[in-house]
């Protein structure tokens, strides 16, 4: 990545954008640029996340670097804020939602479910994963269809197969399985072969 004044300027850009997007929160001091953190091993997405975390400590609760990929754990309350901040910030520019998928960690696990957002930038070509973890008794997460319209079908698929409810989704229906299907097929406690033969009701 580049160093110096350019990054400084960019990071001011990101903070301005974030303060604009961040539901009325105002910015008091500008952040040092990502290069100022001193580490050269960290990837650009993780530097962006560190800057974002310093700005809003409650937006990103954890950053994981593994297998050359960066993952940020985001509380579900802030997922829309984080997504729109990362989409518009000039040195992040995650304008492309490559993928959105759910996962079931196991029946015994708590929190049980997770939703993974795979972000991509069509101009900067970097990638980032956002992860929202959900308790079994509260499988609600705000929709990001307002940020990227492509999230529409991905969220419908996640709702269909995991039963995760995306609050505010314009058209949250089953997409792959029939409307009257019982249960959510990709949950770990849903058997591979089904309980009984399926018949239309």
């Amino acid at each position: 990545m580049t160093t110096g004044a350019g990054d400084q300027g960019n990071s001011q850009g990101i903070s301005e954008k974030i303060s604009k997007e961040g539901s009325g929160k105002t910015l008091e001091n500008t952040l040092p640029g990502p290069a100022a953190t001193g580490s050269t091993q960290l990837s650009t997405p993780s530097l962006l996340l560190t800057a974002l975390q310093r700005q809003h400590p409650d937006w990103v609760t954890g950053i994981i670097e593994a297998f050359g990929e960066t993952t940020a754990i985001v509380p579900k309350l802030h997922i829309v804020d984080v997504c729109s901040a990362l989409k518009t910030a000039p040195d992040a520019k995650f304008d492309f939602l490559a993928d959105l998928c759910g996962a079931d960690r196991g029946v015994e696990e708590e929190p049980r479910f997770e939703v993974n957002y795979h972000l991509f930038s069509t101009t900067k070509h970097h990638r980032l994963r956002l992860k929202v973890v959900l308790d079994e008794n509260s499988v609600h997460v705000p929709t990001v269809t307002g940020v990227w319209r492509t999230a529409n079908w991905h969220e419908r698929e996640t709702f269909d197969l995991f039963g995760i409810v995306f609050d505010g989704h314009p058209d949250l229906r089953r997409i792959l399985l029939p409307e009257d299907w019982q249960g959510h097929a990709l949950r770990k406690d849903f058997p591979l072969r089904g309980y009984e033969p399926y018949s239309l009701k």
Binding site: F67, H118, T122, R129
Partner: protein
């Protein structure tokens, strides 16, 4: 006994004045929907007010099945997703698992992967071209395309034994090395292919009917295309210079010399031109890959993951033990999660693999380009005519096996 069939309210026959809207169902058995896709069209005369795709007719729970199969058994499932580009699916999946295992793939295997994937891309584009032209009414193109595709399928069969479901790429390399004389056969195909592309151009590009049916139909702007998550030729037809082979290179694509075709109109015609030029670019990459083929191993040096050669099993006890363990118990993959995107023939094919440390994946998710590209259909078809819908679906190049999974 009276049968009770519940007719959904939108399909009930009611007396309506002539100027009102009408809802019809196109598919799932309609030949131009490329499989089992149903479209619910709200029409005003012949104008489409709203088109809603209804998918899932081919859903076979493949992502669920992955969780019950060992990693190496998952490869054969990937063949059946985008069945026109099975080698691309193989590649995306094995590369994701290789990322988790941190395997080093030998040079020759990498080159053969590029070679086979580009041949497969040409084959996939040929099916698209043939069926797209057939939908629009130009029937003869179909036969020319399938003649060329047959040659590629013969090559894939020679290498892997399978035509439609090759499963040629394995975790850690390839199933086996190329057969002798393969290079010569690829060259034979290569020699005739550029002429064939010229034939397609003669049949379609200058064809006034084809132009009228495709130009300014199904337009989508660059901003909308990115917002809807379009990828591959559909995105490049809208003027966005994005190719995963360039943006996030894999298997050494950064060392190959090829162009990324871009068109700016964003209509069916632009997507047609992009794919036509892409076939020539793939032809170029195949030629370069052929020139790079040097003798060497095609499997990674990882005896606990890669099946040993038959010869080694006859002579070495440890090879036999490893073979038995891989087949009977599989191999453990370090816990973690990866998302690996590749540029498949239809766009960004991303594979998300989550491992809990055992021999079976905890979750496998395929981001199929067809799935996402089809979701933009309602946006593209607003205000189009019914006949245009057929052209738009053709230009999206969808495969229902990948959409429904």
């Amino acid at each position: 006994m009276s049968s009770t069939i519940n007719i959904p309210p939108q399909f009930e026959i009611v007396d309506r004045p002539l100027d009102t809207q009408m809802t019809i169902s196109m598919g799932p058995q309609h030949p131009s929907t490329h499989g089992v896709l149903r479209l619910e069209l709200v029409l005003d005369g012949e104008m489409v007010v709203k088109a809603t795709p209804d998918i899932g007719y081919l859903h076979t729970g493949m992502e669920k099945l992955f969780e019950y199969k060992k990693y190496q058994q998952g490869i054969v499932i990937t063949d059946r997703m985008d069945y026109l580009n099975p080698l691309g699916n193989n590649l995306a999946y094995v590369m994701a698992v290789e990322k988790l295992l941190d395997l080093e793939i030998p040079e020759r295997a990498q080159t053969i992967r590029v070679l086979m994937c580009e041949l497969q891309r040409i084959a996939s584009h040929l099916v698209w071209l043939g069926t797209h032209a057939l939908d629009i009414g130009a029937m003869s193109v179909f036969f020319y395309c399938f003649r060329e595709r047959e040659k590629i399928l013969n090559l894939i069969e020679a290498a892997s034994g399978g035509r439609l479901t090759p499963s040629y790429f394995r975790i850690g390399g390839l199933m086996m090395d190329l057969p002798s004389g393969f290079e010569r056969r690829v060259k034979q195909f290569q020699d005739g292919f550029l002429n064939a592309v010229e034939e397609f151009h003669t049949l379609l590009t200058g064809n006034r009917i084809f132009q009228k049916r495709t130009q300014d139909v199904g337009r989508i702007s660059a901003e909308d295309a990115i917002d809807w998550g379009l990828s591959g030729p559909c995105l490049r037809g809208s003027g966005v210079d994005l190719d995963i082979r360039r943006a996030n290179p894999y298997t050494g694509y950064e060392t190959y010399d090829f162009e990324v075709p871009i068109e700016h109109d964003g209509d069916v015609w632009a997507r047609y031109l992009v794919r036509m030029r892409e076939m020539k670019e793939s032809h170029k990459i195949v030629a370069q890959a052929l020139g790079r083929l040097k003798p060497g191993p095609v499997k990674a040096d990882a005896p606990k993951v890669v099946l040993p050669d038959r010869e080694a099993m006859k002579k070495h006890m440890d090879a036999l033990i490893h073979h038995f363990l891989i087949v009977a118990e599989g191999f453990d993959v370090p816990a973690g999660e990866v998302y690996h995107p590749i540029e498949a023939s239809k766009g960004e094919l991303g594979v998300y693999v989550k491992s809990d440390g055992g021999p079976k994946p905890a979750r496998v998710h395929f981001r199929g380009p067809s799935f996402v590209n089809l979701s933009a259909l309602p946006h593209m078809s607003e205000g189009a005519m019914v006949a245009d819908i057929v052209a738009i679906i053709g230009s999206l190049d969808i495969v229902l096996g990948e959409i429904d999974r």
